[in-house]
Structure formats: C-alpha cells, structure tokens
Amino acid sequence: MSKFLHACRILICGVFVLLAQAALAQDDTAPDPQPGQLGPLQTVLQQDAALIAKASRTTIGPIIDAIVASELPSVPHFLSAWQNKDVWQRAEDGLFFVATKADGKTYRLLDLDTGTEVGTAAKDELDQLKPNSGVRGLIATALVQFQLSDPNRDTRVEALVAIERRPGPDLLTPLRASIPAEPDAELKARKTRIERLLTMAYDADPAARIDAIEAMSTDLGVDVRAALNPLVATQRQVAQTLPEDINLARELTPGSEDLSRDAAYVMLVDAGLAPPHQSAAELKSQLSQHIDAGRVGGVPVAQLSNPEARVTAYAALAAAGVVPQLVTEADVDAALASHVFFESYAEKDPAVTAAANAALATIATRVGVNQALDLGLDAISLASIYFLAAIGLAITFGLMGVINMAHGEFIMMGAYTGYVVQQVIPNHTVSILVAIPLAFAVTFAAGVAMERLVIRHLYHRPLETLLATFGISIALQQLAKNIFGTQARPLTSPGWLDGALVMNDVLAISYIRIAIFVLALIFLGLFLFLMKRTRLGLETRAVTQNPRMAASMGINPGRVNMLTFGLGSGIAGIAGVAIGLYAKVTSELGADYIVQSFMTVVVGGVGNIWGALLGATMIGSLQKGIEWLNPSNTLAAQTYMIIFIIIFIQFRPRGIIALKGRAAGD
C-alpha cells in the first residue's frame, strides 16, 4: 500500500515538473509584455484581486471559470502554482507572482504570463495565497481539463485518476471535449468509460443518463457500481403526510422488519414531531432525583423494585409538574399512526432511479454468477490442499490400513525443511526446487524409520498403532517447538507465484493456488503411475490384498510395507512444502490438517485414490459453501462441516467410493 502511495507521489511530482516545463516552453513564443504594462492573465486576475487573495469555496467558482475562459496559455501553470501555494501577492501594488525562495527572507518573483523573473522581494512585502482545501479542489477540477488534453500521456492519465477520485458535474464537458482528439487508444477507451459514468450521474439530459445507465448495466466493474449506487441512495424521512415533490423509494410501516417500532419513534423524536420516550434508565434517574423523605411521588422507595410502582411514582411526579409527562405505549402508537414513514431518493428523476435500480439488479445477477464461479475456484483450491494433505494418508491409511496420527507432523517436517532450505539458499525459485526433493527425502527417511521401529510391531493392532503414532506426533511437535520456537516461520514463494490471474473485478485466482492445484494434479498422476505401472505398485497391491500369497510369490512384504509407508510419508513432506507456501509454518501446522485429512480419506472411501480426490473435493467445496452462507464465521463452518461428515457416514459408511463384497472385509 505504502509503495503504491509513494509511486503516486513521484508521479504527481513528475507531472508538475512537466507542467512547469510546458509553461517555460511557451515563453519562447509569447511576446514579452512591456514593463509596467500588465500581462493578460494578470489583468484578468486583477479584476477580482480581493476575492482571489481571500479565496473561499463559495465565491471562487465564477472567478476560476473566468480565468479558464480567458484561454490564456499560462492559465494551467498559474492554477497549479496557486494550488501549490506558490502564488504570492505583492503588498505594494497587489500584483500576483509565482514566487520562489531565493535566500533567507527574499523571494524571486516570476511573472505570471511570461514566467520570467521580474525581481525579488522581501518576505514581509509579500502575502502568500493560501487556498483552503475546498478551493484547491475547485482549482484541481479546473486544471483537469488542461491536463486531459496535455500532450504528455502521463499527465492525461493523472487527470483521469483525479476525475475518478473526485467526479463532478463540471468535469463532464471538458472530458467529452477531450475524447475525439485523444491519440492513445487505451486512454481513449478509458476516457469514454469515465465519460459514461459521469453522464450517468451528472448529465443534464435524463434521457442521456438513462442511455448511459443501460449501456453500463452489463459491466462488472466496481466503478460502475460505485457510480450507480449514489443514484439510488435513499433517505429515511417522516412527515405528517406523504410529500408530493419527492422521488419516493418506498413507504415503511413501523414495527416491520425494515423499521422497528422504537426506531420509528426515534425518527419522530429527532424530527421534533413527538416528545422523547423515557427509557427505563431515564425513568430511574428521574425518580432518584426526586426522592423526598424516603418516598418518590408518594411511593415508598423500597417498593420501587417493581416496574409498575416506578410508573406510578413517575406519574405522580408528572402530575405535580416536576418531570415531563410520561410517554405511554399508547402515546407512541398514536404518534406512529398519525405519521408516514418513507424512503425517498436523493435523485429527483424517477426514470433515472428506475433505470439505475434495474441496472444494479442486472449487475447483481452477473456478480452473483461470478461470485459462484469464484467460490467454485476457491473450493477447488481448498480441495487441492486437502487432497495434498490426504494423498499420503491415502497410501498409508487407505492402502496399508495403518493409522498414522503423526502424518500431520510429517507435513510439518516438510514445511520446516522448506524453511531451512530457504535460510541456506536465498533464491526462492531455486530453494523451492531444492526443498521439494529434500522434504521428500527427510520425511521418507522418517517414515521408514517409524515403520521399522514402531508400526511393524503393531500391524493388526490398529488402535495401538493409533496411540503409538500419536505419541510420536506429540514428541515431534514438541521437538519442532524446541528447535524452531513457537512463532510462525515464513516460507516465501518465488516472485513469479505472487499476484493473481484477474478475470474481472469479482473473479481472481492467485497464482499460488493455481500452482497448488497443478501440484495436486501432478501427485494424482504420479500416484496412479506408481500404483499401476511400477513394480513397487504391483507389489504393494499384492501385499495389501494378500500378504501371505504375496510372500509366497517371492515378494518381501516387510520391504514393500517399509517402502510404501516411506512413500506415503515422503508425499506428506512434499505436501508440507506446498502447504507451507500457502499457510504459516508452525509446529501445529500438521495438527491443523490431520483430522481433515482423515476425514477426506474416510469420506472418499478407504483404499482408493479417486475416493480421496472426491473426498477432498467434497470437503473443500462443503467448507467453502458453508463459509459462503455464513461468511463471518469460519469456525462455525468447520463445526457444521464435521457434523455433516458424521451424518454423511451414516448413509455411506464406507465412503463415496466403497469397495464392495468380500474384498471389503469386515
């Protein structure tokens, strides 16, 4: 953000330098005015010298118009100097000059028309013109029309930016005037677009406005909606009878969903149409101010814990004239009934508001469609992440039936490997390319070690495997905490993955998500290749289906189990690098994904990679869908998703893709 601002600043400075040069360039052609004789601009200015010297927003408009109307070449330079508080008035003769500081207390005076130095003056002989921000705004607006046709492209861009930032009715004419002569096609399109937007809001002819509105009603740009919304802005009002001369949006009924009874009465009170309704707290404070010998309005203080007694006491006080009359509920109802509540458009022309509403509705539909697309893409990227996290599990849990609660910690190890590699290799592209195989190697080794030392002894005791691997999980988590500390470590993606693929103002996909999606696809392909086309895949399938038969065929089940488990763990490591790019690397990184990963595999159907893919897709889109329904609360989204999964398992206990018959076992 600050970078952007800085760039703007540089740009603006540049513009003024250019403006100044343009003014100087004109000096050569303009004839030198005679000394003692006022230049044409100076003449114009002197006509309203007093108002210029003490410029105010309310009076300066016509003067600026007059200055611009003089069509003198030096006008832009003067206006920008004025805007920058570089114009000074000489006290002795009231002439205006552009002054620059010479040294200490003296200033060099430059003639407004020629730009040549006409002398110096001490600071106390000069009065600086200090236009306030309102005046500066008007000056800027006046400047824009010069900038719009400026030969320098950057100046024109700057002018357009200025219009976009402060659109106004008076900019429409100069903007239109500048379009035909615009040489740059891109800028011309942009100018035309802004012209349409300005026409929508400010054109004098309603038909032209409606045309513009209709023409833009298929545009998804944020600027279009920003231009349309003020047209349909409404104001809540209350009156005795519905006024005739307004552009009515709708009438409101007090007590309805749009206008609560209390809010309606507050409107009445604010409009001075009804006395304020005493709140319970006000009632109480009034009562406590009028305690008299243990009684308020004749009611003993001790009884005032009863709300009805309070009302009685207050009524007594009111009857005595000490406090205002109590506004009862009946009073409120009567007041509400005798007034109309309505919303009216600030825009007076009903045809324009109708067209704007129609255009907004059309845009909303299109935005909705695009948002749905965006949501779908979001869901796909989340699904890719879940798939990446779960694919290793699909091997170790799905194929081998080993519950590895430390799977999440393997993901974490992969992510930390990436982090460590980045500390050694500063180039992000190279470091990621190194980190991926290294993460695989590290977690493959960890997986093999774990399989040999622990899991091997616990085959056929799945619950014990769960607990033992859980022990490893907490040990690894704590180790990571001891080594890397508790704060999140960054894993920075290469520069070319920054940014996003922007479709329109609604739809954008960050490159990193595309990369993760591609990575997920690669892994799917890799997995399929390994399982269906390689010796290891064949042996793995053989061992998982019938270890004894496989052993008798000369396959070493121990070795195959070890390698398969290592493979699943290694993939978890690579997933860790990918997830680390997307999320912060902490010791709890894996724990955040483990339940979802297991859910993915269970929901999809154990023992089937397509199941894991479907499971990830389902869980990812489900989570995004719920988040969309309740955007404020991602925690609730996860809660509901888990509840949904629990219910889902009721109907498909074996997951989406279920192995049937005897092969499924019991």
Binding site: K660, G661, R662, A663
Partner: protein, 249 residues
C-alpha cells in the same frame, strides 16, 4: 400341514458379490427336530448360506421363513434372529478367550437380552445348575473356572457347542465342527450333535465324509450356490452329478 414339519424354509435365495453369484436360487427346508449335513466343495456357498440365515448377509432375492408363524428373517438383525432361536457355530472356534468357561456359558444362557435385564442380572441357583449341566454335557465339568483361552482346540469347539446349547436355539447351524479334532474328540462331538438334534434342528456343514457318515442323517449337497442333490449319504454319493463335482474335472 407342511408348516408343521418345517422349521426353516429358504426358497429362491440368490446373492452375488461383485458379479460373482455365491448363492444361486437356493432352496432348503429343515424340520423342527432334524439333523442335516450340508456338504459341498470349496466355494459351493456353504458359509454364505449360513450368513444369510443368521442375518450377516442380505440376499438379493428370495425368502427365508422361520418357525410356526413363518416369520421372515430377512428384515431382522443378527441379534434378533439369534433371539428368535437360531444359533451359529463358526468354523474357527470363537469363544471369549479372556473369560472363564463359566462366564462364557453364563453369557450364552437363555435369558432376556435387553441391556437393563443384563445389567441387573445376578445368577440364581437354577442358572448355576444349568451351567453345570451344560458343562457336564460338553465334557468341561472340571474346566469351569479356567480361562477359555487356555483350553485346547477341541475343548474350545465343545465350549462353543455348549454355548450354543445354552442359548436353547431351535435351529443350530454348525460350521465344520470336527476340523482339527482328534478321533476321540470327533466321536464326542458327533454324540453331542446327534443328541442335540433330538430336540431341535441341527444343520452341520462339513467337508469330512467320514464325519458325515457317522452323523447318519439326510445330506444336502451344495454346488455353485444351489442344491445339487439331497437324500441319504449313500444315495447322494451314488449320484453321478455329485461324483462329477467331487471327483471329476
């Protein structure tokens, strides 16, 4: 009238696993006090047949009716079917190895199966006597306090049969009871089954022809999921189809 003589009626039952027809239009009947041997080569569908009757597997089509009122077993859970009077002995001896013989038998003893009755159940003298009697019957009298896991293979088989008898089922399905037994143990097992069949229906699935001969009962031969032949052992062994299936190919 045929209802009177039929305890279990299986008719037109088929079931397939992933396209493989394990049971194909099978029909089978057994009376209330009858001993029946079911034989057949591997994959003939013997175990699947028992799975269907006990509710473990749901058939794709067909009927399974049980008892005088001919209630359908297909809509019932395994537990309900067992409560209705169908007992099953698995191929491998499945007793609760961590518990004593006494506890095994007591658990199987016919009594209400709902959880609160089970929770408040405390054995009375008649229950103890019944357990004793069952232990006598299966020859485990001296083993009552032993942990079932410590028993020999044959003893476990007997314990399981004892548990089945304790359930007092009206239909007993026994899967290869003699597998892995010594000759003396087989003899004892035969006696148990023949004795049991005097008061209830007993279906014995068996590979071993010698054992089947000793049972001396009607034999049903299964092949490729349906009944190939039925009758006395000598009758079916003379059947050319049966000879073909067992010896041919």
């Amino acid at each position: 009238m045929s209802q009177m003589n039929t305890l279990l009626e299986v008719s037109g039952v088929s079931v397939s696993f992933d396209g493989f027809k394990a049971i194909n239009n099978l029909s089978f009947q057994i009376g209330p006090a009858e001993l029946r041997a079911v034989i057949g080569p591997n994959g003939a569908g013997k175990t699947t047949f028992m799975d269907i009757v006990t509710g473990k597997t749901r058939p794709d089509e067909g009927r399974v009716l049980f008892g005088e009122k001919s209630v359908s077993l297909l809509a019932m859970s395994e537990a309900k079917i067992a409560q209705a009077g169908v007992g099953r002995k698995f191929q491998k001896p499945t007793v609760f190895e961590e518990q004593s013989v006494h506890e095994n038998l007591m658990m199987a003893l016919k009594a209400p199966r709902v959880w609160w009755s089970v929770l408040t159940f405390r054995p009375e003298a008649p229950d103890m006597a019944r357990v004793q009697e069952l232990a006598d019957q299966v020859g485990l009298r001296d083993q009552l306090d032993r942990i079932a896991g410590e028993l020999s293979h044959g003893q476990k088989q007997w314990l399981e049969i004892g548990m089945l008898l304790a359930q007092e089922p009206r239909l007993l399905l026994v899967d290869e009871p003699a597998a892995g037994m010594t000759p003396e143990e087989r003899e004892h097992t035969t006696d148990l089954l023949v004795e049991a069949a005097k008061t209830r229906a007993v279906v014995v699935v068996e590979h071993d022809m010698e054992f089947v001969r000793r049972l001396n009962c009607k034999v049903t031969v299964l092949h490729e999921g349906s009944v190939l032949a039925e009758g006395g052992l000598d009758h079916v062994t003379a059947n050319p189809d049966v000879i073909d299936v067992y010896l041919g190919r």
